[in-house]
């Protein structure tokens, strides 16, 4: 982590990793989609619609993973002042928000044939929606504060406050109303999903995770370069002002 504090070294590492990671994403998502659509059997109750799960569940996991990553990066920003932590958090937010959005949309499309309605105020849907709102708040805060250093620290504080609140929000909406099925993959006593459906799910989850990392690395590289351009422009303007004076 410390050796990566040098952005140039980080950029070098990214350019080495990117082609391999891209290939991994293509292979994993290709295999996962093939397994999901052609190999996995239709569910005995849900029929073909069960295939929505292979997009929906990994997207929901990645949405939560993204927020966890932001919260850890926030610690990095506030405690260790790691120069890349802020970059990592800022670029993870739109990606995490997109995965949360995908989870909400696919869940809604899945809910229509299963529950008979596009939206129910069920606990899990609600907490995912609140997570999406937290993401929007973070993104808005980053955009509202002009100075990047200040924006990064403000967003880090908000991210930590949100991280403390997420379990409370989750608990409160669970208590409020629960219709969504309980956790069925990671639970005591083993998963309740048939292995025929579980294998494609895990391949898709691995593919989505690799995709997240890939998009995140690309976004981080873009953000580092954007900050360099900004710094160059500022020195340019300062130099012009000096010349005039």
């Amino acid at each position: 982590m410390i050796s990566l504090a040098n952005p140039t070294r980080f950029l070098g590492l990214v350019s080495v990793v990117l082609p391999w990671l891209s290939a991994l994403v293509v292979i994993l998502l290709g295999t996962g989609l093939y397994l999901s659509f052609f190999v996995a059997p239709p569910d005995y109750q849900q029929g073909e619609t069960v295939r929505i799960m292979f997009i929906h569940v990994p997207a929901a996991w990645l949405a939560m993973f993204g927020y966890t990553l932001i919260a850890i990066a926030a610690l990095g920003t506030l405690i260790w002042r790691h120069p890349l932590a802020d970059v990592a958090a800022k670029t993870a937010a739109p990606i995490g928000a997109t995965f949360a959005f995908i989870a909400l949309v696919t869940g809604s499309l899945w809910g229509k044939p299963m529950w008979g309605t596009y939206w129910v105020w069920d606990a899990r849907l609600t907490s995912m929606l609140v997570l999406f709102l937290l993401y929007l708040g973070l993104i808005a805060l980053w955009q509202a504060v002009e100075e990047p250093g200040r924006a990064g620290r403000a967003a880090a504080i908000l991210a930590l406050v949100g991280a403390i609140n997420i379990p409370i929000i989750k608990f409160s909406v669970d208590w409020w109303n629960t219709l969504h099925q309980p956790a069925s993959v990671f639970r005591a006593g083993g998963p309740t999903i048939d292995p025929a459906l579980l294998t494609p799910l895990f391949v898709m989850a691995a593919g989505f995770t690799a995709l997240f990392v890939l998009l995140h690395l690309i976004a981080m590289r873009a953000e580092i370069l954007r900050r360099r351009v900004r710094a160059l422009q500022q020195t340019e303007v300062a130099r012009a002002a000096m010349a005039e004076a």
């Binding site: 506030l78 709102l133 509202a144 200040r150 406050v161």
Partner: protein, 222 residues
């Protein structure tokens, strides 16, 4: 201690004597409650059923509307810089300012709520539980608003951003606030569990929000 008390009385007095602080929040609360039946229709049974929810949502919105004032004025005229270098720790200053917001705005909103409940045909029997729930929950409302206010210090159009940041944090307060008034499990003691949870939410906010707000203020003053 005396410095803390002086700051508290100063903030409460300012909120009351300055035009457009407490009065506007109360007026806004009234307006929200008045337009709801106009949108839903005058069915008294329906209104009685949803009255607790409307009263809570209106209270949260009114608190949010006034939340910008917790730090903004002091930030603009430099008082916050003085306070930050003064004898009190900045987190204590932030906590006192949130407390002042609760005393000057939160309590009046709670006191006016039963009156507005009459407009919504709120059953008389639920007024005590509504007041208790609001008294237990509004400290969390004020202190969480303080986090939002400190994060948006000095930004343009900070009001809307503040609402976007803070409303997700209000979800638990709203859920337990409403369920204390309309217990899902009916029974004589059904009000107590949500009420205790509201107290817990308030206590957690009182402890943690000043720390977050102080960090955010320091970031804004830098």
């Amino acid at each position: 201690m005396s410095a803390a008390l002086a700051l508290l009385t100063r903030d409460v007095k300012l909120a009351w004597r300055e035009g457009g602080a407490v009065g506007v929040a109360l007026g806004f609360y009234l307006v929200v409650v008045v337009i709801t039946p106009l949108g839903l229709g005058p069915d008294l049974n329906l209104l009685a059923r949803i009255a607790p929810g409307i009263l809570w949502v209106g209270l949260l919105l009114a608190a949010l509307l006034s939340a910008g004032r917790i730090f903004d004025n002091d930030y603009e005229d430099g008082t916050l810089d003085v306070l930050a270098t003064g004898p009190l720790p900045l987190s204590v200053v932030a906590g006192i300012k949130c407390l002042a917001h609760w005393l000057a705005t939160g309590i009046p909103l709670v006191l006016i709520a039963p009156l507005l409940g009459l407009l919504l045909n709120l059953p008389m029997g639920s007024i005590p539980s509504l007041m208790l729930a609001m008294l237990a929950g509004t400290p969390a409302v004020s202190f969480l608003a303080g986090i939002g206010a400190s994060l948006t210090l000095g930004l343009r159009r900070s009001g809307l951003l503040l609402a976007l940041l803070v409303v997700p944090l209000y979800v638990p307060v709203l859920i337990f606030g409403v369920s204390a008034v309309t217990p899902y499990v009916t029974g004589p003691n059904a009000i107590w569990p949500p009420l205790f949870i509201l107290c817990a939410l308030s206590l957690v906010s009182i402890v943690l929000a000043p720390l977050a707000a102080a960090a955010a203020i320091r970031n804004a003053l830098r």
